[in-house]
Amino acid sequence: MEPLDDKELSQLLQRWESPGAPPELRKKLPVRRPSLWQWLLTGSIRIPVPVGLAAVVLLALWLLAGKAPPSPVAQPPASINLADFQPVLELEPQVVGRNEKQ
């Protein structure tokens, strides 16, 4: 076959019809834009690896820095007030430390 010159090639290209897209490819095209909720539930975000690694490192540092110091394991008891007490009906002093040597 003789090689085509530019004119013949141009005519040939004008007559050429591109083949149609395969039906499988059409199925892969989104029929409509997903709702916000659908995207939140099933969507994905592609991020560059360095950005993802940096985010992980920052998150780890933040968690370590924000870690609360260990709290003491002891706690004082609840207290009572003077108003919780009732006076006795009668005062009855009793000797308890008798000094017998005197």
Binding site: P72, P77, D84, F85, L91, G97
Partner: protein, 324 residues
């Protein structure tokens, strides 16, 4: 499996610790006040106990004792609830040497005395109901005898407030040119037992606190004295440091310093504390390890507390519980 085993061990440990603490002091009374009033011919000495000591009285509890010739007024106050209760003691020196007639009776307070004790708003204070005590109760005693006076009861907790009082010679400060040590009274009820390490108490008197080499000026205004198995100091912006001679790891204490005679020092985080006391801090002649529990968020909660000033107090280990 590991989790349940760990939980089981923690529960057993808690039970043992609580049982141990209970053995040490749950049934004991706690000293909540003490003092003396000296008059020309006698000294009246008292010590107030809460029995049993747990739960403790809130930090709004305080006491005042005033006197006039032959009569002592004992007043217990709750500044938050603005309630008070008290009694009068009349002491008569009898002709027989070293004998006294002591009469307990209803509290009497002049408006001036009430104003001095409760402040300007004294009229808004109210006495505990039924605090007239019935007829006066009289006892003749010899000097050194101790009188036990149960005068308040809490039916919901089974606790009592009990005063132990005695009449002795007046507490004199001078004998000629000699300065005499202050005469103090203390009484411990209940059966005696052997001394244990948990009985060792720390005493801090008129402390001067140095933090990271700088004197805490507010500590120079404190001339009080506290003692207890657990004593604490509070400093502004740093919270409370509870000090113990005994390790008490179950309560979260860590070895952080030492006690040497009348001074102690410890380090918590990047802060170094040095405290000099007006008297020996720990019993005995040796230097001792000091164990510290830091509560950075703790602040005094009593009314009109000065959060910027040094303060101190004591706790009883038996009143602390182990957290689950």
């Amino acid at each position: 499996m590991m989790r349940s085993r760990k939980g089981f061990l923690a529960a057993v440990t808690c039970c043992l610790l609580i049982a141990g603490l209970g053995r040490l002091g749950f049934a004991q009374s706690a000293r909540i006040d003490s003092g003396s009033v000296s008059q020309a011919k006698f000294g009246f000495y008292f010590e107030t106990h809460l029995s049993p000591g747990t739960p403790p009285l809130s930090d709004s509890f305080s006491t005042r004792t005033t006197d006039e010739p032959g009569i002592i007024h004992r007043v217990l106050l709750d500044r938050r609830g603005r309630v008070y209760v008290g009694y009068d003691v009349r002491v008569v020196v009898l002709p027989e040497p070293n004998t006294y007639r002591v009469t307990f009776q209803r509290l009497t307070m002049t408006p001036d005395a009430a104003k001095e004790i409760m402040g300007e708003g004294f009229s808004s204070w109210r006495p505990l109901p039924r605090s007239n005590w019935g007829p006066p109760a009289t006892q003749d005693i010899r000097g050194g005898d101790v009188l036990q006076l149960e005068f308040l009861a809490n039916p919901s907790t089974g606790q009592q407030v009990v005063d132990y009082v005695t009449v002795q010679e007046p507490s004199r400060k001078f004998n000629g040119f000699d300065v005499l040590p202050e005469r103090k009274f203390s009484y411990t009820p209940g059966p005696s037992r052997d001394f244990g390490t948990d009985d060792a108490e720390l005493t801090i008197q008129a402390p001067r606190l140095i933090i990271n080499g700088r004197l805490d000026e507010s500590s120079t205004r404190n001339f009080g004295e506290i003692s207890g198995a657990l004593v604490w100091i509070y400093t502004a912006k740093r919270g409370r440091y509870i000090l113990s001679l005994v390790p008490r790891p179950e309560l979260g204490f860590r070895r952080a310093g030492e006690v040497r005679g009348s001074s102690l020092s410890f380090v918590v985080g990047t802060d170094e504390f040095r405290l000099s006391s007006g008297a020996r801090i720990a019993p005995g002649q040796a230097s001792f390890n000091l164990y510290v529990l830091h509560e950075p968020d703790w602040k005094p909660t009593y009314p009109n507390a000065d959060l910027a000033a040094f303060s101190m107090g004591s706790e009883r280990p038996a009143t602390w519980t182990v957290r689950d």
